[in-house]
Amino acid sequence: MTPRQKLDPKIRERYERALSDEEWQRIQALPRDPESDEEVLDLARWFRRRYPTAKERFAYVRRKYAEWTRRTG
């Protein structure tokens, strides 16, 4: 099985916690940042161009995940 990254318990708790309704409404009320959106689209365009198939994209993420788990142990 792919070894899962072991997060620090405090980080995992923050990452996995359920948002309150108020938190979610505050997040939804934030205006979108067109520059940030364009950065995401640029990243996606590069990723799709460099790795045209899902198989290649999954292989890339697998490599990066393995690097991450090796680095942070």
Binding site: M1, P3, Q5, L19, A44, K55
Partner: protein
Amino acid sequence: MDAGDFDEEELFRAMAGSGTRWLLIGRRALVALGLPVLTADYDFWIDIDGIESFNAAAASCGLIPDKTADAARATGRYVVEGDERVDVLVARQVSTRDGVVLRFEDAWSRRRAVPYEPGLSLWIPSIPDLILTKKWSLRAKAVQDIDLLEALSREEPSS
């Protein structure tokens, strides 16, 4: 420790040949769409009437269900596992916290195909439906994924 003998391509081919309707969800669906986010998980949403066929396909890849089909139908989800662990959602519909219902049938009708390799495609929900799946539990970790998907939806002619 490594991933053992799990062959991802073998699983997708087996699922494509199973006749079961299935959708790839979770972060791996974002990767398939072109967002390089980290994940080690496989999450599927399948037709509740196709559990047996899906399980047969998974078993051909060494993945065994952790519940009977009837128990899975009762709880709405289960896992198939072996050298990999795959989460399987079988609920006919799921609601977001604010009450928006997403039915499997509707998600299926709006699905999109993403090429895995020539001759084999993956079924992914539409971006709006994928966003809804991320709103099911509304955990902090879903917020970034929703943000990325909403950015991606801006380039879609009709999401």
